[in-house]
Symmetry: C2
Subunit: 376 residues, 2 copies
């Protein structure tokens, strides 16, 4: 799928480090997911990669947009997308930002707490709101937490209150499944929160299946189920729980839209050992944790690598970034092997890096510029 | 020390989140350290906070500058500082950046490997070079690693090679002590590497005592030894090991120059519970791991907090940032207590945040702008 990117890198030789995103792959991912889950509204999670060209391509293909902030809403607006295709999906919003979004015409908001609901009732009267529910996250590659969502019982109460307060939340809580839908845990828990919601007064009108990390995946080192398998599992679960009274379904893919569509090219700055008998070499790249590869935090996401010397003899390495920061190590515990002949100046491609790289990049840590990005 | 900052915040009410740095505190820190270690050349570690006004104030006070990249060298040059006051202290440098720095007139470079030394010999002929040596890091608050420095035995070999290759490394390896000098481990190890160096052909000419995190500290929640105690320990160790044949001593403080000189003001966006009987409240601020507080990674650095409601009843909280990212949690395992009356819109000051905050800030993760910074 990324042959076009490798050709671009060969021919253009952009300065490293640099992310190249293939817009055709992004569009294909969108179309494939729409085919696989025709009943769902796809809200692209802008935070995964907010590049203007990506937003424009997805807008033309018919995508809607899940945003986290006023800044992201403005980015989507700048592509000419109508505000009724925008969801303000962050459950942590300043009241003034809700008010601003409402004035712009945004009418779909997420929440997971009473305090947030109060803000919405005050400054977004009559808006459609959906509640994120805590689910298990077994099997996710990026560390997940209880940061988003509330207990199903609380969600029921909150939705009742939302209605009392004049908001459009006529039905059951929506679900934010950050876990892999194909993992038995995730599906079971999702089903459980669904059952909870089915006891609410009216039938479901919005069901958000979020893809916050670990949901719809990209392909890193570990084998993942295909998007087809994920979508099939989601589709089956929807039919099982809603039958022919299907609610409005929202999915929020980010990583799975753009992750595999991007490749970062970096350069080896140094290869060294710490002592004469050091078993592992240290390979320092010109990109690290603070210039785009934040998701190597805790060595959680294990990217696939490619070098021009692949196929020759390899040996174990510690992989690190270029900053004077001891924490700027990509992989030390995880066993990575790289060619023994690797030298400063060699190019290293880091695959499936289209999501959650450019925006995580620091403004200028250690004086290094933020990760550059090129869409082709 | 930061009363001026609090007055500024009260009077000016800048938009949050925002870092305010008191330049008088920075200058005082510099002058105090120079008094305490009069024999040492102070090279301010620019990466800690490269704000132009901080560099200018330190330059006027007589500081030299430790830089990590071409970008940082350019920042220092922009303040009008002569290049002979600049050290290129990163051990991981692209050859073209070394060549550029050398052309600018930079003549002091760090290394810790043969490959780096080869680059220096090629493009920085005759430059002064110093080797960073691995030391133990017991007691440091920010996670340290083997990323910088090499084994003492290797350092000896490398310094011999440096000389053969026409570089100005006539003497012993310098030392990068990232550990606390007052911890017995650090001092012992430092002494050991010193002994190693004393066997080298000539006596020491440069001895770098780096302050890469955990060296000269700032004051977070844990009690730390005073700068006085640190400097005294360093001074004693120097006398013990070099007697009246004192080498040229370089220290590279960053955190201890600017950490305590800065306060971040943030705002509470949301206070919530995940279920009706949740023991801990979740407090979401408008700043998080990706907009300046990266050093809360692994909950390693525990900042002191201040609110307008301090002194009233408190309860345990999980503290998190505003992004739609599950990893954007500041403190979950660490017990933090905050006023029970805390509400959205309340201001929260995060103390001792002058170092390693603005530059760690992401370009625009989730559409949030990088941390603003004001020097007063």
């Amino acid at each position: 799928m990324t042959e076009r990117i490798f050709r671009y890198l060969r021919e253009q030789q952009p300065e490293t480090p640099c992310l190249v995103v293939d817009l055709d792959v992004v569009e294909n991912n969108f179309r494939r997911m729409r085919e696989l889950l025709p009943a769902a509204h796809i809200f692209y999670a802008v935070k995964a990669n907010p590049a203007a060209q990506i937003l424009a391509r997805l807008a033309t293909a018919g995508s809607k947009f899940d945003t986290a902030s006023r800044g992201e809403i403005e980015l989507v607006q700048a592509t000419g997308v109508a505000v009724d295709r925008i969801s303000f999906g962050n459950t942590i919003k300043k009241e003034k930002d809700i008010a601003w979004a409402y004035q712009q015409g945004v009418r779909l908001f997420a929440f997971d707490s009473e305090a947030e609901l109060q803000k919405l009732a005050r400054v977004a009267p009559g808006a459609r709101v959906f509640c994120r529910v805590l689910v298990d996250c077994g099997g996710a590659e990026w560390p997940l937490s209880k940061k988003f969502g509330c207990a199903p019982e609380m969600a029921k109460d909150l939705l009742r209150k939302a209605k009392e307060w004049g908001l459009d939340a006529t039905a059951s809580p929506s679900m934010s499944a950050a876990s892999r839908p194909t993992s038995s845990n995730g599906t079971r828990r999702w089903a459980r929160s669904r059952r909870c919601s089915s006891r609410s007064p009216k039938r479901a009108s919005i069901c958000a299946w979020s893809t916050w990390v670990g949901g719809f995946p990209a392909r890193y080192r570990a084998e993942v189920n295909s998007i087809e398998a994920y979508c099939e599992a989601v589709g089956r679960a929807l039919v099982r729980h809603f039958g022919n009274r299907m609610p409005e379904v929202i999915i929020e893919p980010g990583r799975s839209m753009v992750g595999d569509a991007g490749v970062i090219q970096s350069e080896v700055v140094l290869v060294s050992r710490k002592s004469a008998n050091d078993r592992k070499r240290w390979v320092y790249l010109d990109i690290g944790k603070f210039s785009g590869l934040a998701e190597t935090m805790g060595e959680s996401i294990k990217y696939r690598l490619r070098t021009g010397r692949d196929g020759t003899r390899v040996g174990p390495v510690v992989l690190a970034g270029p900053t004077c920061d001891s924490a700027d190590i990509l992989y030390e515990k995880t066993e990575y092997k790289m060619p023994l002949s690797l030298k400063p100046g060699d190019k290293v491609e880091i695959l499936s890096t289209g999501a959650y790289t450019t925006t995580y990049s620091s403004v200028a840590f250690n004086g290094f510029a933020p990760l550059k990005s090129i869409c082709i």
